[in-house]
């Protein structure tokens, strides 16, 4: 276990407060928590891929980063009027 894996595990602890906000807050609070959560999970995936030296797993983080923008905008757009 190297420093990248340790950093990934420590960063993963940040998911818990985001989950609490998503579960207990309003719908808009949940979207905010989701945005923070997405950024954290992308960094965790990158750190784990680098920590375990698995070059194939970087692509998962790249795809998730692209989807983060699209999904966040879809949530924001729907929450403006319809949800």
């Amino acid at each position: 276990m190297n420093v990248f894996v340790i950093a990934a595990i420590a960063m993963l602890a940040g998911v818990i407060p985001c989950g609490i906000v998503a579960c207990r807050g309003t719908v808009m609070d949940a979207v905010v928590a989701y945005e923070a959560l997405s950024a954290i999970v992308i960094m965790v995936l990158l750190l784990l891929a680098d920590g375990f030296r698995r070059s194939g797993e970087f692509e998962l983080a790249v795809v998730l980063a692209v989807l983060m923008l699209g999904s966040g905008l879809v949530f924001a757009r729907f929450l403006e009027r319809w949800l």
Partner: protein, 110 residues
């Protein structure tokens, strides 16, 4: 030397993320909470990218890391703006200040 730099960057990234999520948890409303997404989406990715770069140099994996982090850094401000706009529209019906909104039956005239 490079591994020390990587360690420092990673420690700072973890601190930024943990401090931001605590802020996200304790703030009162959506507008205040949104301020704490910015460090997670802008500062921490730069630190993680620097750590990977310090450890591996310019390799294929560090290029992919920076590509993913670039998307996160671009998406962060866009999503913050879209979310704050959505929150305001949900709250007041329009994102503009009340005095700048078009009146009913008056076209687009303010």
């Amino acid at each position: 030397m490079r591994s020390v730099l990587a360690d420092i960057c990673l420690a700072l990234a973890v601190l930024v993320v943990l401090a931001s999520v605590v802020g996200l948890l304790v703030m009162r409303d959506t507008y205040q909470r949104l301020h704490f997404v910015t460090p997670v989406a802008l500062i921490a990715p730069v630190l993680v990218g620097l750590a990977v770069l310090a450890r591996s140099g310019w390799t294929e994996s560090s290029f992919e890391t920076w590509l993913a982090l670039l998307f996160v850094m671009i998406a962060g401000p866009f999503l913050t703006h879209a979310t704050i706009r959505a929150a305001r529209i949900r709250e007041t019906g329009d994102w503009r200040p009340r005095r700048e909104r078009p009146r009913a039956g008056n076209g687009d005239q303010p």
